[in-house]
């Protein structure tokens, strides 16, 4: 830009900073480097660009920082939600703990009158033959999973059976013994006398 204004060769236009110095060399050997009106504008431009860039970076950083801070508040909120849900999960787990234990299931089955411990017989599908004794199952169970429940589980002790809410793994027995020890004490009736429901 400045080179073409001073009429120097085209090549020097690629060297805008050295061009004015060279043209003035002919007048004086040494003098302070002049800063012409033409050179001021680009400097300002670059300076502005640099400052704007710096401001932009600072702004972006501040924005990001605000976002991360915001994010960490959200994180805190979610973490506390997660904690609440974990507590709920723990409470529910505590509630159902032991309900899947074999002694509780077997006691429930026994309360329904189911029996266990019968020698198995199998029916072969290919020819319809019965493998094994083929005898009918006996009506007595080989173990008394409810009446003589021996495998304790403190998690379900006293929890009423699903199939017979009046009995539980150990309380059923306890109620009987209580009645035997002190027959004079009548059993408490909480919900009125049981009456048959007829329609």
């Amino acid at each position: 830009m400045s080179a073409s204004a001073l009429g120097t060769d085209v090549l020097s236009s690629a060297l805008p900073w050295s061009a004015p110095a060279r043209s003035e060399d002919q007048d004086r050997r040494l003098h302070a480097v002049g800063s012409g009106a033409h050179t001021k504008r680009p400097t300002l431009m670059y300076g502005l660009a640099a400052v704007a860039g710096a401001l932009a970076i600072a702004g972006a950083q501040m924005g990001l920082s605000i976002l991360t801070t915001q994010g960490s508040y959200e994180l805190k909120e979610l973490t506390s939600q997660q904690r609440t849900v974990e507590w709920q999960k723990q409470i529910l787990q505590d509630d159902v703990a032991g309900l899947s234990s074999p002694q509780y299931l077997a006691a429930n089955a026994a309360a329904l009158g189911m029996v266990t411990g019968q020698p198995p017989s199998y029916l072969r599908l290919s020819d319809g033959e019965v493998i094994g004794s083929g005898k009918a199952a006996s009506s007595t169970s080989s173990v008394q999973a409810l009446k003589k429940a021996a495998v304790t589980n403190s998690l379900v002790s006293g929890v009423p059976l699903v199939t017979d809410p009046d009995s539980s793994l150990d309380a059923g027995v306890a109620a009987d013994t209580e009645a035997l020890i002190d027959p004079a004490v009548p059993l408490a009736v909480a919900d009125g006398l049981p009456t048959p429901k007829t329609h």
Binding site: T69, K76, Q90, S101, Q103, G117, I131, S142, N153
Partner: protein, 604 residues
């Protein structure tokens, strides 16, 4: 002048450069010192000085599961509830529905007094109001500035949340890792339990602690004034959870066996009883039941002697259940077969002066080796035992595991063994070793003997632990001894056939028969030492051990009673054995046999 002029700037440059280099070098040294050599000190110091927080990340102790993956032991949290007595005694300000402090007529805020607050707490914890009130009142009376007292220990999450919802600023809650055993006493003898400090005391909880135990981690970060984590300041060293321990125990089968042995032990009035179910092909123990069994949820409810496994720690002279080993020895080394016969009186005085009696009187007859086992004749086994030298018999008993312990490596498990080396056997011991006396074994070792015979002569190491799956998914299987070929397959088959005849032709035949299945086994009525060099009178350790189906053995079942008093001999074990084996066959869907036991001659 020219030399000074030219030299001096260069020299100055060199000197300046050197000074700069020295300074840089000093900085580099210091940098390395700070960043590398003393880095950890500075980091910890910075964390101490900064407004940072260090949190211990608790790893979770691993679960214990059964062969099907059902959880037998799992980790959970319970809470200790603490209180600041000094603050609590002052009560709290009464607030209305909007959260504003209610002021009384005098303009001062109204307070809710401690006894009222204690009632609220007691309603949740289930304690009495007086009890809770007293905790604070007593503490303040003793020390007015006291800042901590215990309200309750190990409360459930539900109670903890209800207490927290009371919004009392002076209550503190500390989470305490705890153990929960969903199946209660099922396999409690094997699982063991932890003490209240979380240290394992018994069973696999203790034996496999290295698998189950977790490694704690830490989380450090800096916090802003409002307690929010400053992003980018977290340094986390994650906790490593404990591994999942899989047992070979089948929980459902284990429950049945525990229920069964408890009923039968009380029915026969025995001191205690036990059942072991072992898989023939692998030596894996599927049930290890005994009376009485601890409920690991509440070990305190059991008598202290009932909290560990008796079955794993009891050793005894096995008696007749070891007669098949004599049979196997004389078949392999004495040239005998199941048809070989000897003349058997019910009492015999041997040439060396030893006197051996059979448990029942019988006419003198020529008994085959099969007959000796079926009638469980001590005299017959002594006579057959003479066919081989004591050292060979000792070697065979040792090969069958006597004195070798088991692969279970149970804590406190006796290794058993001989009372004397074969060269020191006295005249009586020379014969009694043919029918299971003068050495002791554990119940697991007895089960292993029958597993060996059922498995064609190869003993698989007894096994209770299937594997440990670490938190990163690595499956670690326990180091077990190699399988051992104890006797030849042909010998095992021949002994097996004789054991089938014990069940088919012995006195117990009708009581133990399961329709449709061929079975093999042996009874044992072992004498119990009275601790004074003799045996207890009329009290026995009875056992019945066998396997089914005999033509393709799948499972060994061992039942034992200590000192049954309703029926004192091994006949007490018949019903428990039959029920146990029936359940095993049904549980594992094992097909009935399609052939009958070939009957071998008992007499010649």
């Amino acid at each position: 002048m020219t030399t000074r002029a030219t030299r001096s700037p260069r020299r100055r440059t060199v000197i300046a450069l050197m000074v700069v280099l020295i300074v840089i070098a000093a900085f580099v040294v210091r940098l390395v010192d700070i960043q590398v050599v003393n880095a950890s000190d500075h980091i910890s110091e910075s964390q101490r000085l900064a407004s940072g927080t260090e949190i211990t990340l608790r790893g979770t102790r691993g679960d214990i599961v059964d062969a099907d993956g059902s959880v037998l032991a799992t980790s959970t949290l319970v809470y200790d509830v603490g209180i600041d007595p000094q603050l609590a005694a002052q009560g709290i300000k009464k607030r209305d529905a909007d959260g504003k402090v209610v002021t009384g007529a005098d303009g001062k805020p109204e307070t809710i007094a401690w006894p009222d607050l204690a009632a609220r707490i007691a309603a949740v914890t289930g304690q009495s109001t007086e009890e809770v009130t007293a905790i604070v009142v007593d503490k303040v009376a003793a020390d007015p500035t006291s800042q901590w007292a215990q309200i309750a220990r190990y409360v459930s999450t539900e109670v903890y949340r209800e207490l927290a919802a009371l919004d009392l600023p002076f209550l503190t809650f500390t989470a305490v890792p705890s153990r929960s055993y969903p199946d209660g006493a099922v396999a409690g003898n094997v699982i063991g339990f932890l003490n209240s400090d979380g240290e394992p005391l018994e069973g696999v909880e203790a034996l496999q602690d290295s698998c189950l135990t977790a490694t704690n981690g830490t989380l450090t970060y800096q916090r802003g004034r409002d307690g929010v984590k400053i992003p980018g300041t977290e340094v986390e060293k994650p906790a490593v959870d404990g591994g999942t321990l899989a047992l070979t125990i089948d929980g459902d089968l284990q429950w049945y066996m525990q229920q069964l042995i408890a009923e039968e032990t009380s029915r026969y009035n025995a001191d205690w009883g036990g059942i072991i179910v072992m898989e023939v092909a692998t030596g894996k123990i599927r049930a290890f039941a005994e009376t009485a069994t601890v409920d690991p949820n509440d070990p305190g409810a059991s008598e202290s002697e009932d909290r560990a496994s008796r079955l794993a720690r009891f050793s005894y002279e096995p008696g007749s259940t070891y007669k098949p080993i004599t049979a196997a020895t004389v078949i392999e080394k004495g040239g005998a077969t199941h048809l070989s016969s000897v003349l058997v009186p019910s009492r015999k005085v041997f040439d060396n002066g030893a006197v051996i009696n059979d448990s029942e009187l019988h006419a003198t007859e020529r008994m085959t080796l099969t007959g000796g086992l079926v009638r469980s004749s001590n005299v017959a086994m002594s006579e057959f035992g003479e066919l081989v030298d004591p050292q060979t018999r000792y070697d065979y008993l040792t090969k069958f595991g006597v004195g070798g312990g088991t692969a279970l490596d149970w804590s406190g498990e006796p290794s058993g063994g001989f009372s004397a080396q074969p060269q020191d056997w006295d005249n009586q011991t020379f014969y009694t070793t043919t029918f299971g006396q003068a050495f002791t074994v554990t119940a697991t070792q007895v089960a292993s003997v029958y597993q060996t015979i059922a498995n064609g002569g190869v003993r698989m190491p007894a096994q209770l632990v299937e594997s440990c799956t670490e938190a990163d998914g690595t499956v670690v299987t326990p180091d077990l001894p190699e399988p051992v070929r104890v006797i030849e397959k042909s010998t095992a088959d021949e002994v097996g056939l004789m054991l089938e005849n014990v069940f088919a032709q012995g006195t117990l035949a009708d009581d133990v028969k399961i329709d449709g299945y061929r079975m093999a086994g042996k009874t044992g009525t072992a004498q119990i030492t009275n601790g004074k060099g003799g045996y207890k009178k009329n009290l026995y350790f009875t056992s019945l051990v066998g396997y089914a189906p005999a033509e393709d053995p799948q499972y060994v079942v061992l039942t034992v009673f200590d000192e049954p008093k309703k029926e004192r001999m091994s006949s007490a074990n018949r019903s428990v054995y039959k029920k146990a084996m029936t359940q095993v066959l049904a549980h594992y869907r094992i097909m009935p046999s399609e052939s009958e036991t070939p009957l071998l001659p008992l007499t010649d």
